[in-house]
Symmetry: none
Subunit: 417 residues, 2 copies
C-alpha cells in the first residue's frame, strides 16, 4: 500500500511557511506499514490542485492532503476534489450545525462565508474537527480496473490535523488494510550526551536490517532511541523488543530518563511527588520556560511552588535579593550570582528545593570559555552550582538551558534515593 | 518564469528528516521574481525520479533539485538526469581532480565508489561545490516547440546547497532571464478577531488576480496579511503596495498591531519604552510564557520588571497574596482572583503596570460558558478585568491566552496616547 502526501498553499510554495505536516504524516504512515513515495506541495491554484490530486490518486492508494479548507476564496481543496470526482458540492447539515455551535460558543454570529466549510463533494464523508471550524473530507476517487484511491483532506493547522489523523484517519486506514502486520514501537528517552557519544556507548544496535530495528533521533538535545518490531501479534512484538530495551538501559545508565513521550519535567515531577518534596525556580536566561514546563507537569499540585522570572541586574536584585555589588564586581554570568538567585528564591518561596538558571551568555560567533550558562540548586544541605557550555542557534539556547536545568534537578533527586 | 523544486531521498519521504531546502529555495527564487508552483519530494527510486524530473521540466522553466548526488547506490539524481535527457554519463576530469584534492586535504585515500561523483550527463555543466565532495549538475532538458527547461541539481546538505545556489545558480538565473521582474512583499500583522470576520471588514482585497495580491494566513490566532507586488523595480513595487497597506490599516484600526515579523510582545515593549513605563506579570494558566516573551522582547532592559508564576491556590496565596478564602468561595477561575493577582504582583514588583493571567479553564469537550480565561491589568488608575472564551487543542490554549494577555496591555497602552 503506497501513499502520497499533498500540502496546499501559496504560503508553502512561496517559502513563507515551512511545511512540517508532511514529515509528521510520513512518520505516522510508516509506523503502520504504509510507504510514502511522494510529497507534493502545490500553490492555491484550482487547475494545479486538480492535476496534483488526479496524479496522486493514480500513483498512490492513499492520498493525505493538508490545507486549503478555510473559508476564504483562496481555499480550494473542496472544489478541487469535487471537480476531480465529478461530484457537486452539497451542504452537510451536521457540519453546518457543528460550525454554528462553535461560533455560538464564542458569542459571535457565523459569517456567511463560513457556510462553505460545511460543503462537501457528494458522497464524501465529513471528518470531524473538534478544535476548529474546518472539517476534513474523506473521499473515494474511482480508478479504472483498480480499487478506488482513498483521499483524506485535513486542515493545515498542525494541532488540528494531528488530532483528526489519530481520531479518524488512522482507524479508517487500519480498516482499509485488514492484512497489515502489527508494528510495535518503544521509545527510550535520553539526555546528557551527544548523539555520536551515546551511539558509541551502545553495542551495534543501529545497523540496517537488525530485528528489532533501533533508530536514533535528536530533538533539542533530547535523544530518542526508537525500537521497532514487526510481527504477527502485539505480544510477539513486545517480547522481541524487551531484550533490546534491557541492553540500552544497562549501557546508558542514568542518561536514560524515561520512555514514550516522557520529558524531563515529567520525571522531575514524579520524583518530587515520590519524595514528597516541593520545588521552585528562579529564571534569568530561560525567562519562564522552566516554570512553564514544571507547572504543566505538576498538574496543579503544590509540588511546583512557583517561578520567579527576572531580566536585568536590577530585577534580579529586587525580586531575588541578588546583591547589586556582586553583579557589579563579578558580572551577571557567574556561579556566585546563580547561587544567590537559588538561595533568594528558596527564601521567598519556602520550597524544599530551589533551582536557578543564570543569564544566557552573550551570543558570540566565536565560541569562548565564557559561553557558559550557570545553574544552581539550593536545598536543605546547601547549594550546588554547575555550568554548561552553550553554543548554537539563539532559538535553541533557551530550550537547551531549560533542559539542562531540569536534568540537574533530576540527577540530584535520583541521588537522594 | 515558473519554477519547480524537487527534493530527493527516502529520509524525506519516510519522515526521518525534515526538508528545509525547499522553503529556502522558494524564498530566494521569489525574491528574484521567479514563482514556484510546486514542490515535489521523491524517494530514492530511479523510475519515480525520471518521471518527476520529466514532469517538472514540462510544467516549469526552471527545476531546482536537491539531494541524490552522494557516492552510494541509492544516490540516483545523475542517473535520472542522464536517462531523461537521453545522454550517457561521462567522466569529468576536472571534477575528479577536485574530488581527489578534497580527500587529499583530509589525508585520506579516495574510495573507488566516489569516482561516480565525477560522472555527468554528456553536455551538462558541473556546479562547483567548494565545501563537499558532491558537485552539482546544470543541464538543459529539450522541450518540443519551447525553449529548453533548465535543471540545477544540488546536494541536499543545506550549507553546501546554499553556497552553490548563491555562487553559481543565482548568476545563471539572472543571465537566463535578463528581463526578470522584481517581487516585493509586505506583511501586516493583526490580532483580536477571526480570519473570516477580519476578511469581511476589508474591501474585496483577497480576490484572485488583484494587483498587488493579498493573502491571509493564520498562526495561533495571529493573522498575517501578505501583500505582494510584481514590477520593474523595487520602487515600483513599493509604490504599488502602499495604497493597499493604507486601506488595510484604515479598515482594521487597532486590530493591526505591527508589520513584518512583529509579535505582540515587540509592540508592547516598544510602547512601554516610548512611555517610559515598566511592566511585571503574574501568570497562572500561561505558566511563564508571557514572561518569556516579554523578557525576550525587552532585551535585558528594566522595562520588564519580572514575572511570578504560580500553579495552585496555595502558591497563588504564598507568592501573590491572593486570599485563600476568596478562592474557596469563588473558585480560582474568576475576575476577583485575577484582580487580586494583578494587585499582588504590582505591590511585590513595584512596576508601573502589572498584568495577570488566571488559570486555564478545565479542558472540557462540551463547550460551556465556564470555559473562559480571566485577565487583569493593574496600574495607577486601578485594575481592569477582562475575560475571553478559550477552546481548542490544549497545546494551543496557553499560547492563545498569552497573546490575549499581551494584546490587553497593548490596547491599554495605546489608549494612553
Amino acid at each position: 500500500m503506497l501513499a502520497e502526501i499533498i500540502s496546499i498553499g501559496d504560503e508553502l510554495t512561496s517559502g513563507q511557511r515551512l511545511d512540517t505536516n508532511s514529515q509528521w504524516l510520513s512518520r505516522r504512515l510508516g509506523e503502520i506499514g504504509i510507504r510514502v513515495l511522494f510529497h507534493t506541495t502545490v500553490a492555491d491554484d484550482i487547475e494545479a490542485n486538480v492535476r496534483v490530486f488526479g496524479q496522486a490518486a493514480e500513483r498512490a492508494d492513499v492520498v493525505m492532503a493538508t490545507g486549503g479548507l478555510g473559508p476564504t476564496a483562496d481555499d480550494l481543496t473542496r472544489n478541487a476534489l469535487a471537480e476531480l470526482s465529478g461530484r457537486k458540492l452539497v451542504l452537510d447539515e451536521n457540519a453546518l450545525e457543528h460550525l454554528r455551535a462553535i461560533f455560538a460558543f464564542f458569542g459571535r454570529d457565523m459569517p456567511e462565508n463560513n457556510v462553505v466549510q460545511a460543503m462537501f463533494p457528494e458522497g464524501s464523508r465529513m471528518i470531524l474537527n473538534p478544535n476548529g471550524t474546518a472539517p476534513g473530507i474523506d473521499l473515494d476517487i474511482p480508478r479504472k480496473g483498480r480499487s478506488p484511491a482513498r483521499v483524506f483532506a485535513l486542515p493545515g493547522v498542525p494541532a488540528e490535523m494531528k488530532q483528526m489523523f489519530e481520531a479518524t484517519v488512522l482507524p479508517a486506514l487500519r480498516q482499509l488494510s485488514g492484512s497489515l502486520r502489527v508494528i510495535q514501537h518503544r521509545q527510550i528517552r535520553c539526555f546528557g550526551k551527544g548523539e555520536s557519544h551515546l551511539e558509541r556507548m551502545l553495542p551495534d544496535l543501529v545497523r540496517r536490517g537488525r530485528q528489532p530495528s533501533v533508530g536514533i533521533t535528536v530533538s533539542d538535545a533530547t535523544i530518542t532511541l526508537r525500537i521497532t518490531a514487526e510481527g504477527a501479534s502485539v505480544e510477539d512484538c513486545q517480547a522481541a523488543i524487551e531484550p533490546t530495551v534491557a541492553t540500552i538501559r544497562e549501557c546508558l545508565g542514568d542518561l536514560v530518563f524515561g520512555e514514550g513521550d516522557d520529558e524531563l519535567e515529567h520525571v522531575v515531577a514524579r520524583l518530587l511527588s515520590e519524595w514528597g518534596k516541593t520545588l521552585s525556580v528562579a529564571e534569568w536566561g530561560t525567562g519562564g520556560l522552566v516554570a512553564e514546563r514544571l507547572q504543566s507537569a505538576s498538574g496543579g499540585s503544590d509540588l511546583f511552588v512557583g517561578g520567579l522570572v527576572v531580566g536585568s541586574p536590577r530585577t534580579a536584585h529586587d525580586l531575588l535579593g541578588v546583591p547589586d555589588s556582586l553583579i557589579a564586581e563579578r558580572g551577571a554570568n557567574c556561579g556566585e550570582v546563580v547561587e544567590a538567585m537559588a538561595v533568594g528564591c528558596r527564601k521567598r518561596t519556602a520550597a524544599d528545593w530551589s533551582l536557578a538558571v543564570g543569564p544566557l551568555p552573550e551570543i558570540d560567533r566565536k565560541a569562548s570559555s565564557a559561553d557558559r550558562v550557570f545553574f544552581a540548586l539550593a536545598g536543605d544541605e546547601g547549594v550546588a552550582v554547575r555550568s554548561a557550555p552553550l553554543v548554537g542557534h539563539p532559538d535553541m539556547l533557551k530550550t537547551r538551558a531549560a533542559k539542562q536545568a531540569l536534568n540537574m534537578v533530576r540527577l540530584a533527586l535520583l541521588r537522594q534515593r
